[in-house]
Amino acid sequence: MTYVSQPVSVSLIMGKVLLALGLGIAAYVVYFGPAIVISLVLASVTALAAEAFMLRLRRYPVAPFLKDGSALVTAWLLALSLPALAPWWLIVGGTLFAIVVAKHLYGGLGNNLFNPAMAAYALLLVSFPAHMTQWPAVDMLAQAHLSLAETLRYIFTGRLPAGVTVDAITMATPLDFLKTQLKLGHTVHEITRAPIYGHLGGRGGEVVALAYLAGGLFLLQQRVITWHVPLAMLAALFAAALWFHVFDPDRYVAPWFHLASGGAMLGAFFIATDPVTGPTTPRGKLIFGAAIGFLVYLIRTFGGYPDGVAFAVLIMNMAVPLIDTYTQPRVIGHGRQQERP
């Protein structure tokens, strides 16, 4: 029997994840307005309610499981992946799907095969492509500013203040814009001079990405996550982008742009590191992360979707059992020849 244990709990780990997301959220609010806070609240309330309901239904003790914080993490990751100006039902519906189907119907905490937030994101993207592209414009580029009340009204009723159009408050994401402009025959160099771009990636977005990076480093320092998945994913994304960029800089945007855009940082430190749906072996984590990074690049560059993180993660989720099987570490005392049958 082990009579002592480290003062660590699932709640504590999830709490640290939420805390680490805080910085990114703050940057988001600064650059894109308060809409994201509304999404977060909506998703959180829905997730907790759905979690409690499902736990009750499955006859689990509600309180300890609800306290573990895993539902909140799912809710936050989904909300941060969705456009902040998405209508309320999109967020609520997505969260319900994430908790009820992707999490609990697959066996609940610890048993789900797919990252619940990413499964919900993929479902929404396929089902409601139009609503999934209404990204709030960076505040300094938007023609109209929405107050918190106006944002609330827009999210819940779809009505905008008189004289304000959807176009005035939303905008294509930098990744999207890049893709469509490339199709029109412009070079990367020309495109990235557009005002929505900053130094590294999209204006505002790059700061949010840096904030996620800082949050991720905090998680690393706290040993909530290991370095394997984030490093492998970012390195693979960077390497793939570098390869194409060197090969044809007019058509393929620079690697740092990829790192600072879309869900790269959020994905690397917060989504792909989801322990439940990722591999458990150190080598497996490297393979998993690298494959995601590579897939993200492929989907972004050659695929039809605006960002590739969700699909890359889901695809690799399916490969996890295989990866785990083939990357078992050599147990101490077993000769190398016995490593693999």
Binding site: M1, T2, Y3, V4, S5, Q6, V8, S9, V10, L12, I13, P61, P64, F65, D68, S70, G108, L109, G110, N111, T226, P275, V276, G278, T280, T281, D324, Q328, P329, R330, V331, I332, G333, H334, G335
Partner: protein
């Protein structure tokens, strides 16, 4: 300077050594009643050689080693044997075991003690003496010492390691022993080296025991022993991990450190060996740490057989919130079922429990595959997978994933954020597999028996048939046996028959159709001769008849 080869994983729980290691080893007073279990070591229980009512002297043999892996047991004091009967013993199962109960007479009269002249005795003789002195490892595993000093003839043990790591939290008996009796320990190691024929001696101590390091270093000064200070990390003191740490050699799966040329002894064992060899004292006492929720935690040298309750009393009145006692450390120890159990050779530490010191863990949550357990596993197992298989009762898979390489150190359970009692699952899985193995063996045996039964029936049938056939054949054979009389008779009969035949048919011998005339001539001559012979024969036959 020896380069260390850190093993993977490991944890560093709060040490809690200060509570008990700041007081010198106290000596526990003689209790009025001692309960000495006959099984205090790994292996066969010793055979009792005393009976109720008998008087015994201190150090007198009361249980004789039985079989190769076994050691003897001795009376811890002089007095009268009250009973030889099952009594509660400190064991996780809580089942009583055969003990010799001795009422002390308070005189402490020793048997005659004879030191072992190990330098002038045959090594195997020394080993036998050590077995008869009851020496077993005092680190907690209680493996018979003489067996460990008896390596297979072809397996040289060049390295002898003296284990002073004491990596479990709370336990300080080795620490105090090293501080207070370093010369005896080092002398014990010298004897061990002689018996083993080891080339090197390494004394390994964790760096959280500076006083012990100083004392042992002082005692090592005039030797070529190497004192190695290792970082404080649980489970450095575990045999396989210490071997790896000091030599970089991995003990092969299912093997022992001797397989890679290393033999490890606990410092307490070296001390006991020195007492046995130079002073002729069998192992009848040991140092026990009594700590945890007690008023004055301290180490005591206590006689084997001292009731735990009396030992605990030495630290002051028990506190009200004490909820029980742990034997061993908080990582690998187990709950004692009562304080009636006696001190045994394996008892290095007793920790009084309270909810304040050892809060009961919150209810376990599902495994979130965070792999913290895998990161601290010193064997590089995947504890979360083993847990999954054990939980799903997929024991075959657990075994495939090297369940039996798990040393049950508890590092994984210590770090698990879901508070899953992982080691309990592994123990459960192991015991299930053992049980199945036993069942399978029993079933195999039953099947073999059944098959043998069928085989026997078959064989008996065959044997019967063979016997019959043999009888028949024998009858025939006797008929065909050469017998001069019968032969003559038979020849006569035969001749008669032939004659009759010849007469009846006037047969021309076959194969004569195509013969040349001279051949025919020849044959006819022969036939004529034979006819003459026949006549003679017939005559003689008639005479005989």
């Amino acid at each position: 300077m020896r380069t260390l080869h850190p093993f993977p994983g490991g944890v560093h729980p709060p040490e809690h050594k200060l509570e008990s290691n700041s007081r010198p080893i106290g000596s526990a007073p003689l209790p009025s009643l001692l309960v000495v279990p006959l099984l205090q070591h790994i292996g066969n229980p010793a055979k009792p050689v005393v009976e109720a009512g008998e008087k015994v002297l201190k150090g007198q043999l009361i249980g004789k080693a039985d079989g190769y892996i076994s050691v003897s047991v001795h009376a811890p004091t002089s007095g009268k044997v009250l009973a030889v009967e099952p009594r509660p013993v400190p064991h996780p199962s809580g089942l009583p075991a055969l003990c010799v109960v001795i009422e002390a007479d308070g005189e402490e009269r020793w048997v005659e003690r004879s030191p072992i002249d190990y330098l002038n005795l045959d090594v195997s003789e020394v080993r036998n003496r050590l077995r008869d002195m009851g020496l077993a490892g005092l680190g907690g595993a209680v493996f018979p010492t003489y067996v460990k000093l008896n390596p297979a003839p072809d397996a040289a043990i060049p390295i002898l390691v003296l284990n002073g790591c004491e990596c479990e939290p709370w336990i300080t008996c080795d620490d105090r022993l090293m501080r207070e009796r370093a010369p005896s320990i080092i002398e014990g190691a010298r004897i061990m080296r002689h018996l083993l024929g080891a080339r090197e001696v390494i004394v390994a101590i964790e760096d959280n025991k500076p006083e012990a390091i100083a004392a042992m270093g002082e005692a090592c000064r005039d030797t070529d022993f190497e004192l190695v200070v290792v970082p404080t990390l649980y489970p450095s003191g575990s045999g396989k991990q210490l071997t790896q740490l000091l030599t970089g050699r991995e003990v092969p799966s299912g093997g022992r450190s001797t397989d890679v040329g290393v033999q490890i002894f606990n410092v307490g064992t070296a001390h006991a060996l020195e007492r046995a060899v130079h002073h002729g004292e069998p192992l009848i006492s040991r140092v026990v740490t009594v700590t945890g929720n007690v008023r004055r935690p301290q180490n005591f040298e206590a006689l084997i057989g001292t009731p735990l309750a009396e030992l605990v009393k030495l630290t002051g009145e028990p506190r009200e919130d004490t909820t029980g006692y742990i034997m061993g450390g908080p990582m690998m120890g187990f709950d004692l079922h009562s304080t009636a159990v006696p001190v045994v050779k394996a008892m290095n530490c007793v920790i009084a429990r309270s909810d304040r010191l050892f809060p009961p863990p919150p209810p376990p949550l599902p495994c979130i595959r965070c792999t913290r357990c895998a990161q601290v596993c010193p064997v590089r197992l995947q504890p979360q997978d083993l847990y999954w298989f054990a939980h799903a009762r997929d024991f075959g898979k657990a075994q495939e994933h090297n369940l039996f390489d798990c040393i049950e150190c508890g590092c994984c359970a210590y770090v698990c954020p879901s508070h899953i009692p992982l080691v309990d699952y592994y123990r459960f899985a192991k015991s299930e597999i053992w049980a199945r193995e036993r069942e399978k063996k029993a079933a195999d045996r039953a099947r073999e028996r059944h098959q043998f039964h069928l085989f026997r029936l078959e064989r008996e049938k065959k044997e019967r048939a063979e016997k019959l056939a043999q009888k028949a054949a024998a009858a025939k054979a006797t008929a065909a046996m050469p017998n001069p009389d019968a032969d003559a008779k038979r020849a006569a009969i035969q001749a008669a028959i032939e004659r009759a035949k010849a007469k009846r048919a006037g047969v021309v011998p076959r194969n004569v159709e195509a013969l040349s005339p001279d051949k025919l001539q020849e044959i006819q001559e022969i036939e004529a001769r034979r006819a003459k012979l026949r006549e003679v024969m017939e005559k003689s036959g008639e005479d005989q008849a």
